[in-house]
């Protein structure tokens, strides 16, 4: 069975050019797996696994997609494998481990496939590190699908200097988080001791042993939250994924087929849901009307629309707010916490992607706590529809940001994956803890990791330029100041929100040297800057940065002046959509905010009569998209990566539910 599974994964190897058409017949249980994992290593690193029999498979132009090997892996972790003997066992384990590394961290595939970035440091280091790690780490943790990657990181931790790890770790998900949580003062999960297999212990060096121990601790910490569910998933997920391949399906033993058939359907469904639903196009009259009938919020449309943006909702802000807040005590369909957050979004009390996302998740958490399954209904189904209702209410209040969409998707996934045998309180508790974990890990810890990474890029005497207000950038600057780095900050701001003032206030009161200017003067001020730090609303899988409007201008000018642009973005904001321009997908703000200009320039003051002139429109775009060529580096919780690595991270981690 196992061998078959190994064989099943084979067609996923994308081959270009010449390759040997015949598959070597699987002789032993681990042979095929090794042969598949072989190409990856061969292409990405000079791994010590030269004994792998994959030589005949590797053609010089064989491109190993990392997804294949992640599939492979999980199948391994889950499937009980006959163990031939101690020596072989060890070797096999080493292999297994390396596979895990590949699947969860995917650092080699990530970095190997990505073109050299402006920051050349990572690829070399990480590859060699992983090469080393593959040969040495000999720990079996089949019971922990997560354990694998945690281990790998920690293994190399003691051996390589801290800085290398920080720069090299392109993609350590939870491991990194766990590591940070261990290091920094906030220990969310208690490290736990774990017994090590004796046979291994004897053979490993002291450093390695320590590393393994540390890794296990980290692994435990990471795995704790997910518990057994994760393990279940990985078992389940595999046959499903394998089932996608039509040809091997027939060969599958009948026992597993019934199970996998079912999971296959589930996976298909999941896949369909995973495909990002297209946003509602507001120039589609019939759909808009339909949506309006359902709407809780009565919106008045702006009268003078910009033709180019008819596909986006353009509502008048604020007019419906009093009405809505009076409804607060009479509402029935929407939970009050969600309602409150919706109104806050509408009024603009909460701004910033992280803050909005956290507020939304906490409201959902509250709603779930208060939720009771109606009789004759299934919790999973009913709760999902409830959440859907909340989400559409929130969308009515203000279009969701990409990161919020990701968070919602995570929540729905968790609901869908609730084991059937859980009682209602258990299910609710599990969901609430999931939400809490998401907020902690994906947002708060992520930010800490990002700060650690980014601070390493700040040197004394630098002039850092930032645009608008990003809470991560603020944390970076404050932390860098705290640890005694000497630098100057240039804050570039733009109308109409003038969020930069908020940042300026916070930095100045903490004693940083600041320069403040408007975005028009960017070419003037850019000559002084040595680095540009930008926040992000989302990063799409073509590397496009989707962020506060004006970010693209800043990045472009920085590029023209050869100043490196560093984007700080939590990985949960990565999105698999692609975007080319800022027109197709955007959000429109209040046009009056643009029309109203400060009183000091009385000369340019607008008269009231202009408002009803048909020829005059005010356009208040909220976001714009920055082409990836302007971005030198993205600092995320997976380390510092080039924008070309985004699709890989999105694919690998979304698949393993690590990203969300």
């Amino acid at each position: 069975m196992d061998t078959r599974r190994g064989a099943l994964a084979v067609p996923k190897v994308r081959r270009v050019g010449f390759f040997t058409p015949t598959e070597p017949p699987p002789e032993s249980s681990q042979r095929p797996n090794r042969s598949q994992s072989g190409p990856v290593e061969a292409t990405t690193s000079s791994s010590p696994l030269s004994d792998s029999p994959s030589g005949n498979l590797i053609s010089p132009v064989l491109i190993p997609p990392s997804r294949h090997h992640s599939d492979n892996l999980t199948s391994h972790a889950a499937a009980p494998v006959p163990v031939p003997g101690p020596a072989a066992f060890r070797r096999y384990l080493a292999h297994d481990r390396s596979l895990h590394v590949g699947s969860y961290n995917a650092p080699d595939s990530l970095l190997g496939t990505s073109p050299p970035s402006s920051n050349g440091e990572f690829s070399e280091d990480s590859v060699s590190l992983f090469g080393f790690q593959r040969s040495d780490s000999t720990k079996l943790s089949a019971s922990f699908p997560n354990g694998g990657f945690d281990l790998t990181l920690a293994v190399r931790a003691p051996q390589e200097s801290e800085t290398i790890i920080e720069t090299a770790s392109a993609s350590e998900g939870k491991k990194k988080i766990a590591e940070v949580s261990g290091k920094s003062e906030s220990v969310t999960t208690k490290p736990q001791k774990e017994k090590e297999p004796k046979s291994l212990k004897d053979k490993t060096t002291k450093a390695e042993r320590r590393a393994i121990q540390e890794a296990q601790r980290a692994a435990k910490a990471a795995a704790k939250g997910e518990g057994k569910r994760h393990a279940d998933e990985s078992v389940e997920a595999n046959p499903g994924k394998a089932a996608k391949k039509p040809q091997p399906k027939k060969e599958r033993p009948p026992i597993s087929s019934s199970v996998s058939e079912k999971t296959a359907v589930a996976v298909e469904k999941e896949k369909r849901m995973d495909v990002p639903q297209t946003q509602m196009q507001y120039d589609d009259k019939s759909r808009v009307d339909k949506a309006k009938r359902r709407a809780v919020v009565e919106q008045t449309e702006t009268k003078n629309k910009v033709e180019l943006f008819l596909h986006l909702p353009q509502y008048e802000r604020g007019s419906q707010l009093p009405n809505l807040s009076s409804n607060f005590f009479t509402l029935d369909t929407i939970h009050h916490a969600v309602y409150k957050v919706g109104l806050q979004h509408l009024a603009g009390d909460i701004s910033g992607d992280n803050a909005r996302c956290i507020a939304m998740l906490q409201a959902f958490e509250e709603a779930i706590k208060d939720y009771t399954t109606p009789p004759m209904k299934d919790l999973t189904m009913d709760l999902t529809t409830k959440i859907n209702g909340y989400v559409s209410f929130l969308i009515e209040c203000r279009p969701l940001s990409m990161s919020m969409g990701n968070a919602i998707r995570f929540l729905k996934n968790q609901i869908r994956k609730l084991p059937v045998n859980l009682s209602e309180p258990e299910a609710k508790a599990s969901l609430c803890s999931d939400i809490g974990r998401f907020i902690d890990e994906k947002i708060i810890l992520s930010d800490k990791v990002i700060v650690q990474h980014a601070v390493s890029k700040i040197r004394d005497g630098e002039v850092l330029l930032t645009y608008g207000f990003s809470c991560v950038v603020e944390m970076i600057l404050l932390y860098a100041h705290e640890i005694g780095k000497k630098f100057r900050v240039v804050i570039v701001d733009a109308r109409p929100n003038l969020e930069g003032k908020k940042l300026l206030r916070r930095l100045v009161s903490r004693g940083l040297d600041c320069t403040y200017t408007h975005i028009n003067a960017i070419s003037y001020i850019m000559r002084e800057a040595t680095r540009v730090f930008l926040g992000a609303s989302s990063i799409f899988s073509n590397g496009t940065l989707y962020s506060k409007v004006g970010t693209a201008c800043v990045a472009m000018v920085a590029n023209a002046f050869s100043v490196p642009v560093i984007v700080c973005c939590e990985a949960y904001k990565f999105h698999e959509r692609v975007l080319l321009d800022s027109i197709c997908s955007n959000e429109l703000g209040d046009p009056d905010a643009v029309a109203n200009i400060p009183s000091f320039s009385t000369k340019a003051k607008q008269s009231k009569m202009m408002d009803n002139n048909k020829n005059l429109q005010f356009l208040n775009l909220m976001y714009d998209s920055t082409p990836s060529e302007y971005i030198s580096m993205i600092v995320s919780d997976y380390g510092m990566i080039p924008p070309t690595s985004i699709p890989v991270i999105v694919r690998e981690y979304r698949r393993e539910n690590l990203l969300l």
Partner: protein, 407 residues
């Protein structure tokens, strides 16, 4: 004389306090002032041109020093100097021609008295030779060499003839001054009429359904767009608001008043919108000899974005904006920082600044102008037609004499 001095002082004061805004208004005021300086200048018998030039230069230096960033002042002073030199030249060549004529055809007096007979041909040739040797070589003289030599010296020779006949020195003096003032008047006319000249070309550059992005408030741009609108072209205009001075709002207001479809966008949305824009049209503050442009702040950003999206970047500039200088570090040296109060209210941050501790400082940068390097500019439209950035230095040679480049 004293009233001229006071006029100059007053104008210098205005320039220094930045009371006059806009290069066109400044240029016009400058020419008018120079005209009165010239008309009040008492001219000695000998070397009148030099006296005029000195007088104009003296005033010009004061004016330029008053506002070195306003390049139009220097440009106009150089133009006036150029006019003086040209007129002087034409007078001397005419006189030379007259003398030549007298020498060559002493006995042909009758012919000369009668006016223009065939001997005038020889005079024309001499004058043309004199002109081509004395005048700085320019493309115009090269191309128009033959027709000019045929026509221009004709009149001048005839005029010179009559003058040499009367041989009245005071009338000659008056002639120079008169000619110069005539030339200056023409310059004033040219400066005030440059909008129409430029706007006339609008129809050649704007097509139906075009989307145009502009920024800053420029009368030239306004006239240009309206001229196209009057010719029944329908197009829409995006105007970047130009914070913190909000010149874009002014422009938008005017455009709407003239019935153009106008959308005001924030400055930060320039990059987002540029992909849907067919052409960027801006009014220049000054055009440098290398083809670089000094424009309202934010222009460089728009130019870079336009370059990125291969959108034509068109600069409208009257000829008084052509500056014969090559820029060095123009973003800083030819810029002006305005009051920070346009960005932050007075005292807005004084509560969080700790002056005692000495740590933490706040600077506010509010520049007025932006420099666009020539490689980002697609086309210049001046009152003499469209030009490439690389052609600017040649165009400048037509307007200024090389002696005046350094004042």
């Amino acid at each position: 004389m004293p009233d001229v001095q006071s006029m100059v002082a007053e104008f210098v004061n205005k320039l220094r306090k930045r009371k006059i805004e806009g290069s066109q208004a400044t240029a016009k005021c400058t020419v008018e002032l120079l005209r009165s300086v010239i008309s009040h200048q008492r001219v000695p018998h000998a070397n009148q041109a030099a006296a005029l030039i000195d007088a104009v230069k003296a005033v010009g230096q004061q004016l330029v020093a008053a506002n070195p960033v306003e390049l139009a002042v220097g440009n106009v002073v150089r133009r006036v100097l150029h006019i003086i030199r040209e007129e002087d030249l034409s007078l001397t060549t005419a006189a030379m021609a007259g003398l030549d004529l007298l020498d060559a055809s002493d006995d042909d007096d009758i012919d000369n008295c009668k006016g223009i007979g065939y001997p005038a041909m020889s005079a024309a040739v001499v004058a043309a030779a004199a002109r081509s040797t004395l005048r700085p070589p320019s493309l115009q003289t090269l191309l128009e060499g033959t027709p000019e030599s045929a026509t221009v010296p004709y009149t001048s020779s005839s005029g010179a003839d009559s003058e040499s006949k009367t041989a009245d020195k005071s009338s000659l003096t008056r002639k120079l001054k008169h000619d110069v003032i005539e030339g200056v008047n023409q310059l004033i006319h040219e400066i005030s009429g440059c909008h129409e000249q430029i706007a006339e070309q609008a129809i050649e550059h704007i097509h139906q359904n075009e989307v145009i992005l502009t920024l800053g408030s420029s009368r030239t741009v306004l006239e240009f767009l309206c001229a196209a609108k009057e010719k029944k072209r329908s197009f829409r205009v995006f105007v970047a608001e130009g914070a913190p001075r909000y010149q874009g709002h002014l422009l938008a207001k005017e455009l709407v008043a003239r019935g153009l479809q106008t959308t005001v966008i924030t400055d930060s949305a320039v990059f987002a919108m540029i992909s849907r824009v067919n052409m960027v049209i801006i009014g220049a503050h000054a055009v440098m000899a290398n083809g670089g442009v000094i424009g309202p702040v934010g222009v460089n950003m728009a130019a870079l974005a336009a370059k990125k999206h291969a959108v034509p970047f068109v600069v409208l500039a009257g000829s008084h904006k052509l500056c014969p200088l090559y820029p060095h570090n123009p973003e800083v040296l030819l810029n002006e920082l305005r009051s920070p109060s346009e960005l932050l209210d007075f005292g807005e941050f004084s509560d969080c600044l700790d002056f005692g501790a000495g740590s933490g400082s706040l600077q506010v940068v509010n520049p007025t102008f932006d420099y666009v390097p020539p490689n980002l500019v697609s086309l210049f439209i001046t009152d003499t037609g469209g030009h490439n950035p690389s052609y600017m230095y040649r165009l400048i040679a037509d307007y200024y004499s090389a002696d005046d480049l350094v004042m």
